[in-house]
């Protein structure tokens, strides 16, 4: 069993996890921002 | 443990029973109390009126030390909550009665009061039977409170609040669905207590019962005190 793919898998998985987290941060931030702007408009 | 001098300033003129300064309470998005400031003298019977959600119960709970104000201060007989011992000293001076009767349904009135007395460090069971007789019930009755009528439950709850002989009584809807005779009896007891020097706050929708007995009617509107009158304008009361 060739171990090298596991090395790349580990590095890639690390950035997939961080990427997903950053995406959730952005979507949650946009949602809160929109909610705030709606209130200021009202 | 007698209160330390610092906790209770012995002012020359009589210390007001309750002083609220800038009292605000926020429940998430809903502002239950908005910057309430007021003073209530000792030895008076106050009736707290207002529609649902105006903040009556919240104010009473704040005075009873049951909730931490978002900001502002509550001081009772000169002492304040939050101090190391002053909070506990205040609790010794006040009796609280709420809509849920704060009683164990599986226990009889006497058992409930004996347990409650223990919480205040009182072992003397004679006091418990006195308190029960005072509210017109029979101490020997060993039916569990769960089987009492609403009138009897409220009267037992009142007895529980009176047990450690507090100087300040905080009653939240004491008469709600209580038979008229029990209610009238409770009103007479409260006015006798007030004459004996106790300060009493009653949050109620049946203010008519206390039209004669009460010293002051405090109207609460959306989280603040609307007006304080000494005679009740009967049309205003539903």
């Amino acid at each position: 069993m060739n171990p090298i793919p596991f090395l790349y898998a580990a590095y890639i998985v690390t950035w997939v996890i961080h990427g997903v987290f950053i995406l959730t941060l952005i979507t949650r931030y946009r949602k809160a921002d929109r909610e705030l702007r709606d209130f200021q408009k009202k | 443990m007698t209160p330390t001098a610092a906790a209770v300033p012995q002012a020359a003129e009589p210390v007001p029973a309750v002083v609220l300064t800038g009292l605000t309470k926020q429940f998430g998005r809903f502002a239950a109390l908005r910057n309430v400031s007021a003073e209530f003298a000792e030895g008076k019977l106050y009736v707290i009126l207002g529609e649902n959600g105006a903040g009556k119960s919240t104010m009473l709970r704040a005075i009873a030390g049951l909730l931490r104000p978002t900001n502002g201060k509550v001081s009772v007989f000169g002492a304040q909550y939050g101090g190391l011992d002053s909070g506990r000293w205040i609790l010794g001076q006040l009796g609280y009665m709420a809509h849920p009767s704060l009683l164990y349904d599986e226990m009889s009135a006497m058992e409930n009061l004996i347990y409650s007395a223990r919480l205040y460090g009182i072992d003397d069971e004679a006091r418990c039977s006195d308190a029960i007789r005072l509210v017109g019930l029979d101490p020997a009755l060993n039916r569990p409170v769960g089987q009492y009528s609403q009138g009897m439950r409220q009267r037992t709850s009142l007895a529980r609040a009176l047990l450690h002989d507090p100087r300040l009584l905080l009653l939240d809807e004491p008469f709600s669905n209580v038979d008229v005779t029990s209610a009238r009896g409770m009103v007479q007891l409260l006015s006798r207590m007030r004459d004996a020097g106790k300060t009493i706050f009653v949050v109620t929708h049946q203010a008519r019962l206390l039209a004669q007995a009460a010293d002051e009617f405090v109207w609460i509107h959306s989280g603040n005190i609307g007006s304080r009158v000494t005679t009740l304008d009967l049309e205003l009361v539903q």
């Binding site: - | 443990m1 704060l102 347990y115």
Partner: protein, 258 residues
């Protein structure tokens, strides 16, 4: 004894003597307003035990539940001979944990049903006495379950203890307290969350893993007599000490989290 004949409206004609008597007793009460500690703890514990004994429905259903757990475990794992001793420690403690969590979930049930927590908070009684009374009540309750379950385990797995058997009760007491003290505290926390029943095990299990490991390993070592369980027993004792202290320091903050 007179039937519960309540003289209606008697309050208004209550003989002034009683009210006067009530009034005269004003003086002594104010001095003793602050409750000396053990009395409150004892009173609360006795009250709980009396109510438990009076209704007995909680204890009966829990004992039956514990029996079911043992029987189900005995079907799903059917080791014989030496195997039994190796994994019995784990099985017994997981079964105890299962029964304990269900019992711990009921800790505050009576207080919530009667909405009496406010009565306690408004009194001068210290919060830690309420906590210790509840924790001790739970400890007794769970111990009863364990006493019921253990002989069944011995029978179903025909266990014979090779190591020092007198250590087993020590492990049981330390282990049960480790679960109960944190369980009572987390039951108070999960009161204020949406799904109460699922929240308790969810926050109790991760934190109890070291204690669980200690109980299981110590029991296995004593059953198989392989080596000395001293390390695990010391670990459990220190765990109990640390977490009882943490509970006592933080309980009031959680009780008053309004």
């Amino acid at each position: 004894m007179r039937a519960g004949s309540v003289k209606d409206g008697s309050m208004s004609t209550a003989p002034t003597a009683t009210t006067a008597a009530m009034e005269m007793r004003r003086a002594p009460a104010t001095e003793k307003a602050i409750a000396p500690a053990p009395k409150v703890l004892f009173a609360t514990l006795m009250k709980d035990l009396r109510l438990e004994w009076r209704s007995k429905d909680a204890i009966n259903s829990m004992v039956f539940f514990a029996l079911l757990v043992v029987v189900v475990f005995s079907f799903s794992f059917d080791p014989t001979g030496d195997d039994a001793r190796r994994i019995a420690g784990g099985l017994i403690w997981v079964a105890f944990l299962f029964a304990a969590v269900v019992a711990l979930g009921q800790t505050w049930a009576r207080e919530i049903r009667n909405q009496v927590l406010d009565a306690y908070r408004v009194s001068t009684a210290p919060a830690n006495d309420l906590f210790l009374a509840k924790a001790l009540g739970n400890f007794l309750f769970v111990t009863v379950l364990e006493v019921v379950m253990t002989p069944l385990f011995v029978v179903f797995y025909n266990l014979r203890v090779i190591g020092p058997a007198y250590l087993l009760p020590v492990i049981a007491v330390l282990g049960t307290w480790a679960l109960v003290v944190n369980g009572t505290f987390f039951a108070a926390i999960s009161l204020r969350t949406r799904s109460r029943e699922v929240m308790l095990p969810l926050i109790l299990f991760p934190i109890s893993i070291p204690a669980l490991l200690g109980m299981v390993e110590a029991t296995k070592i004593v059953l198989t007599g392989e080596s000395s369980a001293k390390f695990w027993i010391v670990l459990l004792a220190v765990y109990d000490l640390v977490f009882t202290t943490v509970c006592l320091t933080l309980f009031e903050t959680v009780l008053d989290a309004e």
